[in-house]
Symmetry: D2
Subunit: 122 residues, 4 copies
């Protein structure tokens, strides 16, 4: 299955339930944020070692939180007419230009000075 097939399945799931009426962009973004928080909660108060143990012990729950984020993100993209894979590819290209490998490689100290490093725009 490819992402576009998953997107179709999500659309079908939603429409069989007549839930498009609730899935406006603002609530979808809230939902993504809440799911991201539920994923993060697995690692709260934990050392790197405890994080590893948690991942082993709660693999299916963590996978389920990750899937929730993916499902909402895919549906939101679909609703907005955004090709998620193409958007990701474009953003990787932007990041490549913004953080030239030669300049930033191994620069561990500097890394944490980038506002959000290669992930984001403020």
């Amino acid at each position: 299955m490819e992402l576009k097939d998953i997107a179709a399945k999500i659309r079908e799931f939603r429409d069989e339930r007549d839930w498009a009426q609730f899935h406006n962009p603002k609530d979808m973004a809230i939902a993504i944020s809440i799911e991201a928080s539920e994923l993060l909660e697995h690692f709260l108060w934990k050392t790197p070692e405890e994080v590893e143990s948690r991942i082993e012990a709660k693999r299916s729950e963590i996978e389920s939180e990750i899937a929730d984020i993916g499902i909402y993100l895919t549906e939101l993209s679909d609703n907005l007419g955004i090709d998620l894979l193409a958007a990701m590819e474009r953003k990787i290209a932007v990041n490549e230009a913004k953080y030239p490998a030669k300049q930033v490689k191994g620069s561990s100290k500097k890394y944490s000075e980038y506002p959000e490093s290669h992930g984001g725009e403020s």
Copy 2:
């Protein structure tokens, strides 16, 4: 391009910069949460109509935030050995069993009573 190609590109991007050392699961989950919040910020204080205008006016910024979430989510899944598409497919199946279409269809009032509706597990 398929998601697995994007995942490979992300890995390559990261490794050329020697950034795997920072990308532990806890910080990856924090990053996803922060990016989700930046997406949400576009819609803060806005009515449904203003949300629509915002999406038109800031389409590329919004697309970029969505891409950021997708990139971190794809890398985290990859790092944890989780097949993101398969996980999403499984979760959709779980949701189908949990929210039978016949029972919940059109039930707009009830919808908001489901803790997180078809999105999540608490």
Copy 3:
């Protein structure tokens, strides 16, 4: 009881349990973010009218989420040697200068153009 008395109670609660070891600033900030998300979850998918009903129906749960955020925020401030009330007072003064009442009053359309309005700095 004043905020400084609450801060003292929180410190006492924590130290009787020997929990200061877990309460580093990064995890405290994660905890605040997770609690904020739990508060927000009460309003997910809801119209303004449904939000009002939710507040009536779940007043004590909502109050409890708000208290959680307040408790972590108070402890974090205390741990960092920040006088939370003084910091709030200073920030209100900053916002007063940044958003002159005469200029922004009633400007409902403009309001949503301010990045985060009087709340934040990006």
Copy 4:
């Protein structure tokens, strides 16, 4: 200044700008979540040592983010008729009953097993 004086100042600030119309509970909760994320962003990708350096280097920005959360939380409580200090005091009492000091003290391993430890209810 006490918290109730700050609450009065916030109310005055808001009303001079005619901003109550935007400050519905759902958007207030979104705003708190976004501000919490901005606080957290200061610590993203950082080791405990780097977090300490960051706090020194960016003390006033971090204080400002903390103040933002406090301001929105105070206003939301005020809007909902919730006495924030009393709510915090009640929640501390709840946590004292839930996590008896004798039982949980020093139990560092166990701590991370509590869903959100003394902070929250799911």
